[in-house]
Amino acid sequence: MPDYFAFTDGACSGNPGPGGWGVLLQARDGDKVVKERTLSGGEAETTNNRMELLAAISALEALGRATAITLVTDSAYVKNGVTQWIFGWKRNGWRTADRKPVKNVDLWQRLDAAQARHQVRWEWIKGHAGHPGNERADELARAGMKPFKPAPARRPAADGAA
């Protein structure tokens, strides 16, 4: 049985602004990667936290069957949210301790549903610190953002018609 890992990362240019997310899924037999899958995506107007959440969601939603997986994120927001804060939010009907609506509740609920299908071990690592899996997830997130980064010189004139 291989071990499954997901490296996830989000990127955002401006907050809010164009953003992207990236996922590297690996099946490993010891140190050997036996299978690998990448996913990336982006949106025109979003935030860094939303992209970090969407990366984790996309990783878990992409798994065909119930899987025991280690999900590695450099987002303390995602890691702490899903391993600690979410229990209180659910008790409070998706409100924070001071009764305010939870931010990004649509994505937190989706993450909650996605992780319920699997056995997830959540791991936080420091971002941009040379971890190969995290670096590749970061590259994918930036690639996912690329179509939405303003490029004034060659932006097609679609907006006027929209």
Binding site: V34, G41, E43, P147, D159, A162
Partner: protein, 197 residues
């Protein structure tokens, strides 16, 4: 125009196995995102509906699908399984004007010839209401090919596809890409773009 005869013949010959391979109990990630972004009771063109799986999920979500496929056996199967009112039509038959709230073109337009693809995108833009939702799924790559079943495929790069969408008047809202590498090498990189007319 009648669509690519060899591609249609391939689907006619494999209609049963194709339908079973894509049968699922719940909508996939991309269809879920599409459904979530539609207005209530949306009128949706399901272009290249195949056995009608997506249209059945759309209807279950309270929408009004209009499933169309160029392969008569697929249309018959869609109607037999789900009574969807699916109809036979090719990409060249898209003539509606501001009629749809959404278009679901999930890995179907990859069968269109390269020189016709921009024409089809323009026709879909006209068929959508203003700000209508457009989902397109395509395989990433370059050139054209026929697969082992004799189906014709046309491949595009990401920038190329986004430029063609923009030229047809679509502003991309969400882009999603994926690729997989197993022991057998790279498998079918794909791109899915959700945009508004």
């Amino acid at each position: 125009m009648t669509g690519d005869e060899r591609t249609i013949a391939a689907y006619e010959a494999h209609v049963g196995s194709y339908a079973d391979r894509f049968a699922t109990a719940e909508p996939g990630v991309h269809l879920k995102a599409f459904i979530a972004a539609l207005p209530p009771s949306a009128h949706v063109l399901d272009l290249g509906c195949g056995p009608g799986t997506a249209s059945a999920f759309l209807r279950a979500a309270g929408h009004r699908p209009d499933p169309v496929d160029a392969t008569p056996a697929m249309v018959a199967l869609a109607n037999a399984r789900h009574a969807l009112g699916a109809r036979v039509g090719t990409f060249d038959d898209i003539a509606a004007l501001a009629a749809y709230d959404g278009v679901w073109a999930n890995f179907s337009l990859l069968h269109a010839p390269r020189d016709r693809f921009p024409v089809h995108l323009a026709a879909l833009h006209r068929a959508l209401k203003p700000r209508g939702l457009f989902h397109i799924g395509m395989k990433l790559g370059a050139g054209e090919a026929r697969d082992a079943l004799d189906r014709f495929y046309c491949y595009y790069g990401r920038e190329e596809l986004l430029a063609l969408l923009a030229a047809a008047g679509f502003a991309p809202g969400q882009v999603r890409e994926g690729r997989e590498r197993g022991l057998a090498g790279t498998e079918d990189p794909f791109i899915v773009v959700q945009s508004h007319a």
